[in-house]
């Protein structure tokens, strides 16, 4: 059974050593997902697996047989940017852009976790049925995505704006 990437079936590699990241970039030609550290430290390779954010560099492609992967290429609607992509442009949420696809996929997954009520390390009340995305919550929840240009302020503003607009 192939893996479904942005709605399209992609055949699994014959060699089980191929990571999901390399399958996307080298086999499927989807180079939006970036290889930063290739060891799970930077978050540049973040994709959505059945809606959950994961690191494609530490995932073997054969592990996701039959499952649905969404990459940065799967977010826009034709030439119309996903609203979070548009918010990154609006707020200068990047300089070199290398971490951006991972930041955006991660933020989408993060907001799904928040909507589900998943607490974080800075959540005071573990029993709270709903958690607001405060500045501290946003920063903690996005700590798995590094930006070496130092565009974090713009990234935080972009995600926050999208969150507030989506909440309206």
């Amino acid at each position: 059974m192939p893996v479904t990437v942005n709605g399209n079936p992609i055949d699994l590699p014959a060699d089980p050593r191929v990571s999901l990241l390399d399958l996307l970039r080298e086999h499927a030609g989807l180079t939006g997902t970036k290889k930063g550290c290739n060891q799970g430290a930077c978050g540049a390779c973040t994709v959505l697996l059945d809606g959950d954010r994961v690191l494609s560099c530490l995932t073997l492609a054969v592990q996701v047989e039959g499952r649905a992967v969404t990459t940065i290429e799967g977010l826009a609607d034709g030439d119309t940017l996903h609203p979070l992509q548009a918010a990154f442009v609006e707020h200068d949420g990047f300089q070199c852009g290398y971490c951006t696809p991972g930041q955006i996929c991660s933020a989408i997954g993060m907001l799904g976790e928040l909507a589900r009520g998943v607490p974080s390390a800075v959540t005071d009340d573990l029993a709270a049925p709903a958690i607001a995305l405060t500045h501290d919550e946003l920063r903690e929840r996005m700590s798995g995505n590094l930006c070496r240009c130092g565009a974090h302020n713009g990234i935080v503003d972009a995600i926050n704006d999208y969150y507030l607009e989506a909440a309206e």
Binding site: G40, P119, N145
Partner: protein, 327 residues
């Protein structure tokens, strides 16, 4: 990465059959895939057990059974874990990043290997844990992150898991299945001190698989927490961490569970400190004294002496917090 065969197991008996005595079980892959890429590990056969039971359910005794394939996030967000074992939810949430917690399984977390830089440095460093008998470059090297409790001339690497520190405090048990049948073992006797054979990290026999973790009913644990001290405020391994549950009656410690992370070669259950605390007045001075009892035999290396004071202060602060917030 060296070549390997890959198979996916649908259930535990099939996993055991596919792995035999030499296959390696693969959970989320967040540690093992990295170790394979770095050539620290070179398994010839991987059996994917990430599709096995991830159920989180109450036991007839009022505890909680967590399938070993449950993702770390699933445990931390579970309503019963948050209400009855908050230290476990907080320990998991203090570890790694959200992406990694979404991937990593409970079984894999239990089997995490140390992040000692010499363990990872295949080309350039000696490490008894990776290459038995080769020596330990951490003893005379950069050892700021290394253990002050449970080390030996063989190895001073810290156990990296946050989750396991909480499980040690909670008296968790591991359910294990293997070629010779099923058994259960206490978390606190699962991980091995690096005495003579540091490469042997736990009590799993060849071919054995962890299928679940069981938490006992422990009303005390509803009043518990986990505090992690690290070099940056998120996404870093512990310098010191403390898992604690506390019950105070009429100003005295009625019951307590205490475990330490970041300081030991294994998740460190602080039984000496617990014994010192029971029945004593719930005061900062006594909390500090109990921490010092636990740390009495600590062995300091060149760079990690600060951990003693840091651990004593963190234990004191956490217990004060629990004592102060008790209803």
């Amino acid at each position: 990465m060296t070549p390997f065969t890959f198979a996916r197991a649908e259930n535990a008996p099939q996993a055991l059959q596919l792995a035999g005595l030499h296959g390696r079980f693969l959970g989320g892959g967040t540690n093992l895939v990295d170790l394979m890429r770095e050539n620290v590990e070179q398994p010839a056969s991987l059996v994917d057990v990430s599709g096995l039971s991830r159920e989180i359910a109450e036991t007839p005794e009022g505890g909680l059974r967590i399938g070993a394939a449950a993702r770390n996030t699933a445990v931390a967000e579970h309503a019963l874990v948050r209400a009855r074992y908050p230290m476990l939810a907080r320990a998991i949430l203090a570890g790694a990043s959200a992406q990694i917690r979404n991937m990593a399984t409970v079984g894999g977390n239990l089997l995490q290997r140390t992040r000692c830089a010499y363990f990872y440095d295949v080309e350039g460093s000696r490490c008894n844990r990776r290459a038995p008998g080769s020596g330990c470059d951490a003893l005379e090297g950069f050892n700021r992150y290394h253990a002050v409790l449970g080390g030996s001339p063989q190895c001073v690497a810290t156990h990296p898991s946050d989750m396991c520190v909480a499980l040690a405090a909670l008296d968790a048990e591991l359910l294990i299945e293997g070629p010779l049948g099923a058994r259960r073992v206490a978390l606190t006797s699962f991980h091995c001190l690096p005495v003579e054979r540091p490469e042997v990290e736990n009590g799993l026999a060849a071919g054995e698989l962890i299928t679940a973790v069981e938490l006992p009913a422990l009303p005390l644990a509803a009043h518990s927490t986990y505090r992690k001290v690290r070099d940056r405020s998120s996404y870093a391994f512990a310098l010191v961490s403390v898992a604690a549950a506390l019950s105070v009656e009429e100003g005295r410690v009625a019951d307590v569970r205490l475990a330490l992370g970041g300081v030991g070669t294994v998740p460190w259950r602080a039984r000496k400190a617990e014994a010192a605390l029971i029945g004593s007045a719930a005061s900062a001075a006594n909390f500090r004294a109990a921490a010092e009892v636990e740390l009495e035999g600590a062995q300091v290396l060149r760079d990690n002496g600060f951990k003693i004071e840091l651990a004593a202060r963190t234990v004191t602060m956490v217990l004060e917090q629990l004592a102060g917030s008790e209803a």
